[in-house]
Symmetry: D3
Subunit: 131 residues, 6 copies
Amino acid sequence: MSQRVPIDYGDASAEVRAVFDDIKRSRNVADVNNFWKYLAHDPVTLKRTWESIKEVMAPGALDALTKEMIYLAVSVTNGCGYCIASHNAAARKAGMTDAMFGELMAVVGMANETNRLANGYRVPIDPAFEK
Amino acid sequence: MSQRVPIDYGDASAEVRAVFDDIKRSRNVADVNNFWKYLAHDPVTLKRTWESIKEVMAPGALDALTKEMIYLAVSVTNGCGYCIASHNAAARKAGMTDAMFGELMAVVGMANETNRLANGYRVPIDPAFEK
Amino acid sequence: MSQRVPIDYGDASAEVRAVFDDIKRSRNVADVNNFWKYLAHDPVTLKRTWESIKEVMAPGALDALTKEMIYLAVSVTNGCGYCIASHNAAARKAGMTDAMFGELMAVVGMANETNRLANGYRVPIDPAFEK
Amino acid sequence: MSQRVPIDYGDASAEVRAVFDDIKRSRNVADVNNFWKYLAHDPVTLKRTWESIKEVMAPGALDALTKEMIYLAVSVTNGCGYCIASHNAAARKAGMTDAMFGELMAVVGMANETNRLANGYRVPIDPAFEK
Amino acid sequence: MSQRVPIDYGDASAEVRAVFDDIKRSRNVADVNNFWKYLAHDPVTLKRTWESIKEVMAPGALDALTKEMIYLAVSVTNGCGYCIASHNAAARKAGMTDAMFGELMAVVGMANETNRLANGYRVPIDPAFEK
Amino acid sequence: MSQRVPIDYGDASAEVRAVFDDIKRSRNVADVNNFWKYLAHDPVTLKRTWESIKEVMAPGALDALTKEMIYLAVSVTNGCGYCIASHNAAARKAGMTDAMFGELMAVVGMANETNRLANGYRVPIDPAFEK
């Protein structure tokens, strides 16, 4: 089967269905996103990625919203169109307001700017930061 | 003067000193970091960058700690050594614990991984994310 | 002529046609891809790029399939949509199976994750790696 | 404990030691690399990352050497100094010769070049690649 | 209001209109680009970004065309589709010919190639460059 | 021979020496930079890279200084330490003043910032840019 076709629940193997079921249950959604339907071409990666995401994104020392905004910041920096769309949606669901999104973008923009200023001026690390 | 030499307060122009003074006052520090001492070769960029940073990083819809962690997430994704060191220090100062840093890194790592899985599988954006 | 229009064989200069002919002969294809039709706006770059590609991608110490998968790994990491699509096709043609693609993506994903963990934890290079 | 200190086996918790032991056994090495000693500050990420790496890097449809070279290609593209050093060493151990490394670098270089040419000329994806 | 809808002049606040008016006057255009209409969701970032752009892109030691070409070089390297399209247009308006664009792309491509060769071979910085 | 040792003229093959001689002659320098001494491990890549660089960097529709500044802009964006150092030196030699460097950095920084704002706000390309 070509990798360029999403695998829907009805066409999925038992192994893939088990992951899809866990995603739907954990996220309380009727169907999984395209990301999982494409990863389903490789059931081992599907399972490992889902289990890692579930572990990493669970609230801990950081709450779910903060984690989603960090995810979005990385996706925006990398310019991953799918990831920006899906994690923007996830962050919204977790409580990100328009104002929070606006400030998030402002920080991401500034960080990308000053990262290059630091590179270009070849700024040596201050001894105080090395501790 | 070569751009590869930091400009210390004692050697700075009045224009640069005014910015350095504002940084020291705003951050309550005795001296500014190397980043500013190198940017001082271009007083216009120094002033604009500091004023932008001050505006962007001020607590608003997002608190100072969240902003510093987002900054760090971007810097880690870009692999900017100076920025990782300085914003790790800033995030620590704003209250980032070891546990929070660990979870931040875990999210940044996962986001960089799944960004590439989404790219490689060329996953189309779910219609629900386009709204 | 606007750079946003592909240059087809029929409209190409003799210089461009010579490169197109060599691509068609070397790859045994009826027509060249869009990539070459756009590069044709700059015949010098067209020629240099094609000759470099031909030299670099020829089987040597690494076989053609391995080279195409490495090319794809880079394109996925950079998020270049055109390059992912074209080098996925080229890798398939060179023998990449679904299982190989799946493992390739898994490695690319992990590498992008651990690259950031190494950056974020600022891991110093082990002396053994410096030899 | 500051995150900027590697955690050696002697100072590690039982949880961390279990992972270190598995790395040493799997790789048949006397000690683990700095990467793991720094990740040890976050035992959950340490365990998940090691188990993912072990699964992803095991020979399958692709052999161990091909996987290491793909890992290196990504690390070189991202400019991650630690990762380049450690995966160069790993690829050498898996059998990468000087000639193979040279061709790997040539492909990585060309891919990064043509990724930008495709971006800059805004080349649309050929219909044949969309199947 | 959803962030995924551009804010047109007619629907904009007085604060946003003031920025739009300044953009239209400075650039002598009838309407602002989408970039500004989306940023308008965050009037603070809109204002700061426009004022920074106006300051940074004004002719100084470098003329407007050189600045636009540098902007385009960065956007091509980052693979930002919107930015490539808009700054290509801006560079054309500032006088970039087809031949200049072709050479710009050739340099951007080579720089991305040799950046990775330098990374992969882990070339130490020549002492002469450190002065 | 390990790839981590530069190959000096005295130890180089005739093939490598021919390239080194051409670099020294073309650039009117007494010795070649480390970049070439490391690439010398792969004479084919050494030769191809040098010939491409020589062709691409020759003055044409863009002068040598503009080309060096574009090269530097890309290297700063990618965070390639060696490339930033060497192309900063080359740009200085070609006539880049402190003021020009400052403005170059300001543009590179802004471009990296707005690239992410465009990504994050998912700004659609204005129809006018598609022509």
